[in-house]
């Protein structure tokens, strides 16, 4: 399996702070790739580099075999990269339905397959389970629901790769479970997912492959089992006593 999305030795410096150091990761279609690490490790910054919101100090980003390091964010979106945000970036004064519709209509500008944005919108609302709240302004919805709106909006642009930044924060256990099963379904349909997540049972339960980031550096890469056995990873997480394991 070759990677559809990869980064090569990405470095991001904010003044004196090196937020990301030589990070190389790969995302493959049809599976969930995890990106974990303590707070401040540089996960969100790496997401910003991949989606074009943050210019890297050095390094390259490849998508679909092309170097996209210098491409505009909107061009990357049109190539098939979509994302959600750790701190919500919903369109608060549009309804949930309109949030998704905007993305579906936007897709019209590059996808000539003759789909109907309204129909796509309804399907996704159904799939994500937002049909009941579709007419509410997103600014008035609870955080957990707003996260689903962001996910739905990302799906509406029919991406090849989806980047999720802590999708389960603000969700309760039941909702997290639904989110996990939704992810599994999406991956079965061929989507590539890059997942940043703090909830370890969620990560271990959904990811087929994991990159571990600590202080901006990739310290481990492998299957969930391999990563959990890695001593460096255990050290990175709050001392060594607590063993990270799948539930």
């Amino acid at each position: 399996m070759s990677a559809i999305l990869s980064t090569q030795d990405i470095v991001v410096r904010f003044g004196v702070l090196q937020a990301v150091s030589q990070a190389s990761i790969e995302v493959v279609e049809g599976r969930v790739t995890g990106l974990i690490g303590p707070n401040g490790a540089g996960k969100t910054t790496l997401f910003n580099v991949i989606t074009g919101l943050q210019e890297p100090t050095a390094g390259k980003v490849f998508f679909d075999g092309k170097d996209i390091t210098n491409k505009n964010p909107f061009k990357r979106a049109r190539m098939g990269i979509a994302r959600t945000f750790q701190k919500l970036e919903v369109f608060g004064s549009l309804s949930a339905r309109e949030n998704i519709l905007v993305a579906a209509e936007q897709r019209k500008t590059w996808d000539r397959s003759g789909f109907d944005p309204n129909q796509v919108c309804d399907e996704i609302l159904e799939k994500v389970g937002l049909s009941d709240v579709s007419e509410f302004m997103v600014g008035t919805l609870p955080t957990g629901t707003a996260r689903l709106v962001e996910l739905a909006r990302a799906l509406a642009s029919n991406p090849k790769v989806l980047l999720l930044d802590e999708p389960s924060s603000g969700l309760n256990e039941e909702e997290t479970e639904e989110m996990a099963s939704l992810l599994r379904k999406l991956v079965e349909e061929g989507l590539g997912v890059l997942l940043v997540e703090h909830d370890m049972s969620f990560v271990m339960g959904t990811c087929q492959f994991i990159h571990v980031l600590d202080f901006g550096t990739i310290i481990a890469t492998g299957t969930p089992a391999e990563v959990q056995a890695n001593a460096q990873v255990q050290a990175a997480y709050l001392g060594t006593e607590t063993v990270v394991e799948a539930s």
Binding site: P38, N39, N48, T51, G52, L53, N72, P73, F74, R76, A77, I81, A82, R83, F85, Q86, K87, L88, E89, V90, F91, G92, S93, L94, S95, E98, N99, L101, V102, A103, E105, Q106, R107, T109, W110, P117, E135, F136, M137, G139, T140, E150, R153, A154, S157, S169, G170, H198, D199, M200, S201, M204, Y237, L238, E241, T242, V243, V244, E245, S247
Partner: protein, 734 residues
């Protein structure tokens, strides 16, 4: 081989050539010798010093509170008048008057503004922040004009007026100028010392980065922001007092210094105090250069006054591109549902019916007054108000939906009106209106172009600069509007069989034509709001970063809305010309355009119906005067109206239309949704206010315990700092 020319280099070359062109074209013939050079420097540095003081204060306030204070210079103007009152009128010694003005009145204004208004604006939308300070600017202008009637001339003496000054080569530098430069240097050093060396200053800077960070330095947030505003007012007052002897104690002149301060602030990228001082110097030297060496011909009589605005424009070209920021999203505190087509049609019908009923005298209770009798004077005024309504409605998609705050539409309308006089207005050719719209659409775009890649505040500054340039340079150019030409510029135009003109006999028809056009635009906008265009604009305004990541090309999306708004303003301009019949060169000053934006914003800039409510608001004061005579309390209300509007906006940011609309809809038996929504929102708002009170109660004083940090994080909802134990699987050991 790579040959990459940076856009900055190209800009620099183009700007250099344009400046060179203007300099050579308008060279006054003064020889460049030691005498002229030293007088250019002496005047320029002194002027620059004053600009630097006011710009420094503006930047400090912005950098520490996040609010750009358009009323900065107006407050300075008010304080200069206070100082005049104390010295010249009351005869107090200079030093006493200075202390009272700058160390008592100025900080008092600052603290009061902070307490009553500014503190509520920290999380408000940019439009609201800007409009509140614009409202304050108009209020301070109004108060000053009322207390000190402009009919009496006043002069503020220079410091040490009676001394001779110092001989510097061939020119004498007056002590006033020398003192000015010294004070400017002291202010620069003082501000820098304060911000980098004192605890208060460090907290002030920290507050911009993060409120919790500021708390850790041990200062109360309320004191920090109060001090910022007090400091801002003091610098504004100091600059006002220093410059008034040079420009005259005239409200407009002193208030327009805001353009200068903004230009210097743009050069400083709104954050660097040393750069703000350099910016002030650049502008001072440019003005002095123009005064000493250039001789603006009759074509460019007022070009001199547009120099600061031009420098602001140029500065924008060289600013680095703004990053698409995330995590700055503002939670909306409101709900709304899309207006259905039949509701929009009904609304349009009601507007036509209301105005039609008044124009035809079917509203009985106001008859007996000239207002009720609809004298031709009043029909003409009515048409005038509707024209202003057309300008206001052109702002709805631009400001309300796309979130692009523009102060230029009144100026665009002005240019449209002048163009129409060339494009067919003088022959009564209706097609001219179309041509004007075709020109004004790209014009609207051109104004925005330098600011498209920058953050929203710069756009507001760019449009303000353009409004100033349009008034001082473009409209006054004899090829645009010949000041010596007299008589009617606009012949009556026939559109769909209706004759529209300023002629008294046509006024009723004109008014009806205007209200029908207005209603049509209203209906079209309501339909546009349901379309994918408006959705995209609103999405872009709510979160530019998220819009980009779903594939929205922000640049072209913005361009589209600027063109639409420009075309609408151009149309309004044609109507403006037809309604007036003739134009004078001073019809479109910057200060005449600002109240329109304010009026619209108070009504609710997202809602097309707000433009109609704005028209009614405009008409209400003259109408009340007509009915009630001219009671002084009404004059007082009109005077402080903008101030009331500013305060109202701080507390009710969505605008009157929204709140009254929600309450009215709640009264309708079938609108259960409206009642439900209101409950939800009130609950949500209360929740947020509880959070705010909690912070104030905590006081953020040292020692800063772990507990308090945790409490603060919870209150501020800082998800970044969730405890790391969450990494441990649920049920795991801990």
């Amino acid at each position: 081989m790579r040959l990459k020319v940076s856009p900055r280099l190209i800009s620099a070359i183009v700007v250099g050539l344009v400046v060179l062109f203007f300099v050579t074209q308008n060279w006054g013939g003064a020889s460049v010798n030691a005498k002229t050079i030293s007088s250019f420097l002496v005047v320029g540095i002194a002027l620059g010093g004053i600009y630097a003081i006011t710009a420094g204060g503006l930047v400090v306030t912005y950098a520490t509170t996040g609010i750009f204070n358009f009323s900065h210079a107006a407050i300075g103007c008010f304080l200069a008048f206070c100082y005049w009152q104390l010295t010249v009128k009351q005869g107090l010694p200079t030093l006493v008057a200075l202390v009272i003005t700058l160390l008592v009145i100025a900080p008092a204004i600052g603290f009061l503004l902070d307490k009553v208004i500014m503190r509520r604006l920290r999380d408000a939308a940019l439009v609201v922040q800007l409009m509140v300070t614009v409202g304050l600017m108009l209020t301070f202008m109004g108060i000053t004009l009322t207390i000190w009637s402009p009919k009496t001339g006043r002069t503020l003496p220079q410091f040490f007026q009676d001394t001779k000054g110092v001989q510097l080569g061939d020119v004498t530098a007056t002590w006033h100028r020398i003192i000015t430069v010294v004070i400017a240097l002291l202010v620069a050093l003082g501000l820098r010392f304060l911000l980098y060396r004192t605890r208060l200053g460090i907290s002030m800077r920290a507050v911009v980065d993060s409120r919790s960070l500021a708390g850790l330095t041990g200062a109360k947030p309320s004191i920090i922001s109060g001090a910022s505003w007090a400091l801002g007012c003091m610098t504004a007052g100091l600059a006002g007092i220093l410059i008034a002897p040079e420009t005259g104690l005239v409200v407009e002149n002193l208030t327009l210094i805001i353009v200068v301060a903004s230009a210097a602030a743009a050069i400083a990228q709104l954050k660097s105090i040393p750069m703000a001082f350099i910016g002030g110097l650049i502008i001072g030297l440019s003005k002095s250069f123009s005064a000493v060496y250039l001789e603006w011909g009759t074509d460019w009589t007022y070009a001199d006054e547009a120099i600061p605005a031009a420098i602001l424009f140029i500065a924008l070209l060289f600013l680095p591109m703004a990053r698409l920021e995330t995590g700055k999203i503002r939670i909306t505190k409101r709900t709304e549902r899309l207006t259905r087509p039949w509701e929009a049609a009904l609304g349009a019908g009601v507007m036509i019916a209301l105005v039609g009923a008044w124009a035809n005298g079917w509203i009985p209770w106001i008859s007996g007054t000239t207002f009720g009798e609809r004298s031709t004077v009043w029909l003409g005024r009515g048409a005038g108000f509707m024209v202003i309504g057309l300008i206001m409605i052109s702002l709805i998609p631009l400001i309300g939906w796309a979130g692009q705050v523009s102060f230029a539409n009144f100026a665009i309308a002005g240019i449209g009106a002048v163009l129409f006089s060339h494009f067919g207005g003088q022959n009564g050719d209706a097609l001219g209106i179309v041509y004007v719209m075709l020109v004004c659409a790209p014009l609207g775009l051109a104004i925005a172009l330098p600011a498209l890649r920058l953050k929203g505040l710069y756009l507001a500054l760019a449009t303000m600069a353009f409004a100033e340039i349009a008034d001082k340079v473009i409209i006054r150019h004899p090829n645009m509007l010949d000041p010596s030409a007299t008589g009617v510029l606009f012949k009556p135009v026939d559109i769909f069989g209706i004759t529209i003109s300023s002629d008294p006999s046509d006024r009723k028809a004109f008014l009806m034509f205007l209200v029908v056009t207005f209603s049509l635009l209203f209906f079209m906008l309501e339909m546009l709001r349901r379309s994918r265009w408006a959705r995209r604009w609103i999405a872009m305004s709510d979160s530019p970063a998220a819009s980009a990541t779903i594939g929205v090309n922000l640049t072209t999306t913005k361009m589209m809305v600027f063109m639409l708004s420009g075309a609408m303003a151009g149309f309004a301009g044609c109507m403006f010309g037809l309604q007036r019949g003739a134009l004078s060169v001073d019809s479109f000053p910057l200060f005449a355009g600002l109240p329109l934006v304010l009026l619209l914003a108070v009504q609710g800039v997202r809602y097309p119906v707000a433009a109609f409510m704005g028209v009614i608001g405009l008409a209400s004061f003259p109408a009340l005067y007509e009915v009630l005579g001219k009671p002084s309390w009404l004059t007082a209300i009109e005077l402080i109206g903008p101030g009331i509007a500013a305060i109202a906006m701080a507390y009710r940011p969505e605008g009157a239309v929204f709140y009254s609309g929600r309450d009215l809809a709640g009264l309708l038996p079938w609108r259960k949704d409206a009642r439900l929504e209101k409950e939800l929102m009130v609950a949500k708002e209360r929740e947020q206010n509880i959070g705010k009170d909690e912070i104030n109660d905590m006081g953020l004083t040292r020692p800063f315990t772990q507990d308090k940090v945790a409490q603060l994080d919870r209150v501020l909802d800082i998800t970044d700092l969730v405890d790391e134990t969450k990494m441990v699987p649920t049920g795991g050991a801990s």
